[in-house]
């Protein structure tokens, strides 16, 4: 068993198993019907905390002027591809000397079209990871980054597994390109993606030595899933592998390359789950066309009694867990998953169809679905930096990249290394019953999370600048009123309501330093406002805001979105 199969075998025991049994926690009967209730900050925050990383106050204000439907449509609109990562490493120390890009790529120019270089590769990988962080931090009002991470978790590959950044970057470009597009076309693209061909051994799958790795995961993890109604067989795995024989990689162009001599030209017969489909063997260059037939068949695979192909349900459930809650009971299956699957299928596998349906549903804005996601490391870290408007803008682009890399390293410390999920099944927090996203928080990661955030409230964390708590307060409705200060801060930072007793506690303890009269805060804020260059008056309000925010982000409630 090679390393990849070993990992896969491990993952197999822990793969998603479809519908979870009802637990004691009450779920809800709300349906997929478009939400028609009040469109207020609470609802907008729900939408933004789930569809982006963190809910920025400026974004909340922006969406207040729109209808719910307009908001979702805007968030789900696909974006143009971002500018690629650049040479941020020129002059960094390498073997004791300043590094010079071997291909003459200037600092600030992109390296993504450069050939492989052993010395430059590590630098470029770090550049790419930093760049990815920057895209998350600057994601704008779009679901794109959350979907890129969704697909990275879905079609997992690991940078660590093949150290050639050209492969890694092309893979990222592929998942970005299809993040809000045609899922069927996406499956074809990822099946031919050089990184995926490496990662799941597709490039060594030949007529004489078939490798079933990709053929299996294509069904089990990528299209049909492991649910009770996903009834493909072991023979289907073998047959799919045969369809895919002969695909190779051109290592110069980093594109797939079909070698017909390695292709199995026999007919491939599939099980009743795939309606006993026979894919006719093709010879010569046409052998690659069998992939289209295979995908067509995969997207039609369904069990007896099911209305739609299994893929429609499988992806809908995964979207649901990503955006709403991990617990899918029978009611949710009927009320939410089934209509999402129908929309997905009817829209010819356009992923935005079920996504929009979900994000516009009364179910999504059901109060029982608020505050029930434990923040992933990415959500926690990127979300906090965005919600506190952390600006990473230095004259030297290398400093920007180094700062983004610091953010990347934090997420690694919190156990989510973007680019390197633990295995082909993605992060366990997205599939491992019964804990799911509770897995993110443990006795190691929780204190780490709190220590980092605690530091950032008052100090820089490495290159990451400290939170500007004054700017945060300025964006609130009435900073001079300590009651409004507390309730606004709680509203934007937490999703779980805090009792009046504890609100008063926070106000009295932190903003009023133990006093009972609100006027003391108001006076301090107003005095600060008279002359903002007065350091002492500024520190009076700043230190109190910092203490209040520290307290709030130290609450268990802050771990939840």
């Amino acid at each position: 068993m090679d390393r990849k199969s070993f990992l896969t075998a491990q993952a197999a025991q822990a793969k998603p198993n479809g519908i979870k049994q009802l637990n004691k926690t009450a779920r809800t009967n709300s349906t997929i019907t478009p939400y028609a209730g009040v469109w207020g900050e609470t609802q907008i925050i729900q939408l933004l905390k789930r569809a982006t990383f963190g809910a920025k106050i400026s974004d909340i204000a922006y969406f207040k002027t729109k209808t719910m439907s307009q908001c979702v449509d805007e968030l789900v609109t696909p974006l143009a591809a971002p500018s690629p990562p650049v040479n941020n490493y020129e002059g960094k120390t390498f073997n004791g000397n300043p590094f010079v890009d071997p291909d003459g790529i200037a600092k600030g120019a992109t390296w993504v079209n450069a050939p492989y270089n052993n010395d430059a590769n590590g630098f470029r990988e770090n550049s790419m990871k930093s760049w990815w962080v920057s895209l998350m931090l600057n994601q704008g009002r779009s679901v794109t980054e959350k979907m890129v991470l969704f697909w990275h978790n879905h079609f997992s590959t690991e940078i660590n597994s093949y150290n050639d950044v050209r492969y890694n970057f092309k893979y990222l470009a592929t998942i970005r390109q299809y993040a809000l597009g045609d899922f069927k076309a996406f499956v074809k693209a990822i099946s031919l993606d050089p990184m995926m061909l490496r990662y799941l051994n597709g490039f060594v799958n030949t007529k004489n030595a078939p490798d079933e790795n990709y053929g299996r995961e294509l069904q089990e993890l990528f299209v049909c899933g492991k649910g009770p109604n996903s009834q493909y067989t072991e023979d289907d795995v073998k047959a799919a592998a045969k369809v895919l024989t002969g695909i190779n990689i051109n290592n110069t162009t980093v594109t797939y390359n079909f070698i017909s001599a390695n292709h199995d030209t026999a007919n491939k017969t599939f099980s009743p789950f795939y309606n006993n489909t026979v894919i006719t063997g093709q010879t010569g260059a046409a052998g690659i066309n069998e992939l289209d037939s295979l995908i067509l068949m995969l997207f039609a695979g369904k069990s007896n009694g099911q209305a739609l192909p299994e893929a429609a349900y499988f992806i809908s459930r995964k979207l649901y867990r990503w955006f709403v809650y991990y617990d899918i009971d029978a009611t949710t299956e009927t009320n939410i998953i089934a209509p999402m699957a129908q929309a997905f299928y009817s829209a010819n596998w356009d992923i935005t169809a079920p996504l929009k349906l979900l994000l516009k549903s009364e179910h999504f804005y059901d109060i029982l679905n608020f505050g029930c996601q434990i923040k992933s490391p990415v959500d926690y870290t990127i979300g906090a930096l965005r919600e506190f408007n952390t600006v990473i803008q230095n004259a030297d682009i290398a400093v920007n990249y180094d700062t983004w890399y610091t953010v990347y390293a934090l997420m690694v410390a919190f156990q989510q290394a973007i680019g390197d999920p633990p295995n082909v099944a993605g992060w366990p927090a997205y599939y491992q019953a019964p804990q799911y996203n509770e897995i993110w928080v443990n006795t190691d990661t929780l204190p780490k999370r709190s220590q980092v955030m605690d530091t950032l409230v008052t100090n820089n964390y490495g290159l990451i600048p400290a939170f500007d708590v004054i700017a945060f307060a300025d964006a609130l409705s009435n900073p001079a009123d300590p009651n409004a200060m507390v309730s606004d801060t709680l509203k934007y930072l937490l999703r779980i309501d805090i009792s009046q007793v504890n609100r008063d506690y926070i106000k009295t303890t932190y903003l009023l330093t133990g006093q009972t009269n609100d006027i003391y805060w108001t006076q301090a804020w107003n005095l600060f406002n008279v002359d903002r260059t007065n350091t002492i008056n500024k520190n009076v309000v700043k230190s109190r805001l910092q203490q209040m925010i520290k307290y709030i982000i130290d609450l268990a409630e802050y771990q939840i979105a």
Partner: protein
């Protein structure tokens, strides 16, 4: 006393060579060897308990200057405690305590309480926030510090905290604050020394169940409850705190309905339970008595009287309990408030924000039953802006506790306190880690060390002062406590000297001159008339 403590404490004063495990003890006087032997931290089992009175305590109704009673009655007739109700203190007829403070009275009379008069700092702030920040950071009036004085102390003792903590040598939290957030006073050079992963506050919350309930029937409640469970598990210090707390039985009864007593009870429990934690902070609010601080029909009752009662009862119960638990000799406490209140009361039966006020230092090993400093001199006519003059800088109190009780080395003391402050003794010399011969300031009571002539004066006056030699300082303050000038600030031979004070340009009114020399200080009231 553990052997290491003994070596540490004894070594500096041993002059003659003696043998201890074959080593010449005198050699231990060389500090690198001594430090290596006793680890980098000062090895003491002494504990400091800070009691914060939030809001600005009316010191004049707490420690009552009976020798000023007539003028005081003019200034605050609607709130002043009747003189026959004032509790007397052994050894003085000039000063007494608020009638609610029977507990502190008996402690004082048993030598367990020391009163420090007129504690403030030059140019005091009258803002709660700013004044609290100054007291917690130990900064100058015009200085803004991001660290707290206790945080700087703990940062000196445990420089790498939190990395590597808890460990075998220091398995316990460095500082614990009960019942509130972690005070900025604990803010160290990089992190809060009172927090890290262990939030003492959450311990209090666990003990007292102050937390919004997580509704387990709802998805959010299930996830919240999960995170809270992990949070409890990750409290690195929680188990040691709980173990310590649970190991203690047989505590005495504390007064009921007394939030301060509730907090101090936990402190006694943790000290007895064996925590090596050196600093505790507890707090009580409600001292911002702008109106109705006394009952209109009985000035010995009312809001301030209740606070005095809670404070006194709580400290008495705590001290008795520590004694009962066998840890009384390890504990020194002090009270502080961000400021005192104005001399003159206002029409609504309260007092506005003021400056200097007395504070209490208490414990078995305190050089107690004594008063440091004098009663403030109250003028015959007091304007609304007049304040109690500063006699001692609050940082002198901190500094003295650090050096005499927590055994901080003189070199570190400057790092922590940022400058050199007057040594006030405060601790019995037998218990002090700085075995200096303490000259008691009140031994000088009745002897005028500073005077001026003429007084009142129009434009200038000559100030005469007597120094025992060494560093001597004469400062001039106005009645708002603002430092007008430092007239004298240098080393002198013992003797009597004069300094000329030119008051040109100063408004008419009351001023005072403050002499500081070694343990001594005295304040002289002066008036400019035109």
């Amino acid at each position: 006393m553990k052997r290491r403590d003994f070596i540490r404490n004894a070594a500096p004063v041993i002059a003659a060579p003696a043998l201890l495990n074959g080593y010449t003890v005198k050699a231990f006087g060389a500090s690198p060897f001594l430090d290596a032997l006793t680890a980098a931290t000062a090895n003491t089992d002494h504990v400091v308990v800070m009691i914060q009175l939030s809001g600005g305590n009316d010191g004049l109704n707490m420690v009552i200057p009976l020798d000023q009673y007539g003028n005081l009655a003019n200034a605050r007739s609607n709130i002043l405690i009747p003189s026959n109700k004032v509790l007397s203190l052994t050894g003085t007829t000039a000063t007494g305590l608020h009638p609610s403070m029977t507990g502190l009275q008996s402690m004082y009379n048993n030598g367990k309480v020391k009163i420090v008069q007129g504690v403030s700092y030059p140019s005091p702030s009258f803002s709660h926030f700013r004044a609290t920040d100054i007291w917690t950071s130990a900064s100058d009036s015009n200085q803004s510090l991001n660290t707290g004085w206790m945080g700087r102390y703990l940062g000196t003792e445990y420089p790498n905290f939190p990395s590597g903590y808890p460990n075998a040598t220091m398995p316990d939290p460095l500082a614990i604050q009960i019942g509130s957030s972690v005070s900025p006073a604990f803010m160290g050079p990089a992190v809060s020394m009172g927090m890290a992963i262990s939030n003492p506050n959450s311990f209090y919350n666990i003990v007292n169940n102050v937390q919004d309930t997580a509704d387990l029937s709802k998805p959010w409640g299930k996830e919240l409850s999960y995170v809270r469970t992990v949070a409890k598990q990750t409290q690195a210090y929680l188990s040691v705190i709980k173990t310590a707390a649970q190991s203690v039985t047989g505590q005495l009864t504390y007064p009921a309905n007394n939030r301060l007593a509730d907090q101090l009870k936990i402190v006694a429990q943790l000290i007895k339970g064996g925590l090596k934690t050196r600093m505790y902070l507890v707090s009580i609010g409600g001292f911002d008595t702008h109106s109705a601080q006394v009952d209109a029909t009985d000035f010995t009752k009312g809001a301030h009287a209740n606070l005095m009662l809670q404070l006194s009862d709580a400290i008495k119960a705590f001290t008795d309990d520590c004694q009962n638990l066998g840890v009384g000799d390890r504990v020194v406490g002090m009270t502080f408030s961000e400021f005192g209140r104005r001399i003159k009361s206002n029409a609504s039966g309260g007092t506005d924000h003021g400056s200097a006020a007395p504070l209490f230092v208490f414990g078995n090993k305190v050089d107690g039953g004594k008063i440091v400093g004098n009663n403030p001199t109250i003028a015959g006519t007091v304007s609304v802006n007049d304040n109690v003059p500063m006699q001692y800088d609050f940082r002198s109190v901190y500094s003295t506790i650090l050096s005499h009780w927590l055994c901080v080395k003189p070199s570190d003391l400057n790092t922590i306190m940022l400058k050199n402050f007057q040594d006030l003794g405060l601790i019995q010399s037998s218990a002090s880690c700085m075995p200096t011969g303490i000259h008691e300031a009140n031994q000088k009571a009745g002897i005028n060390l500073i005077s001026n002539y003429p007084n009142p004066f129009v434009s200038s006056t000559t100030i005469t002062f007597t120094t025992e030699g060494g560093h001597t300082m004469v400062q001039i303050f106005d009645m708002m406590g603002r430092e007008i000038t430092t007239l004298v600030n240098r080393e002198y031979e013992a003797g009597t000297y004069t300094a000329w004070f030119d008051a040109t340009g100063l408004a008419p009114g009351n001023y005072y001159a403050r002499l500081q020399n070694g343990f001594n200080q005295q304040v002289r009231n002066m008036s400019i008339v035109r």
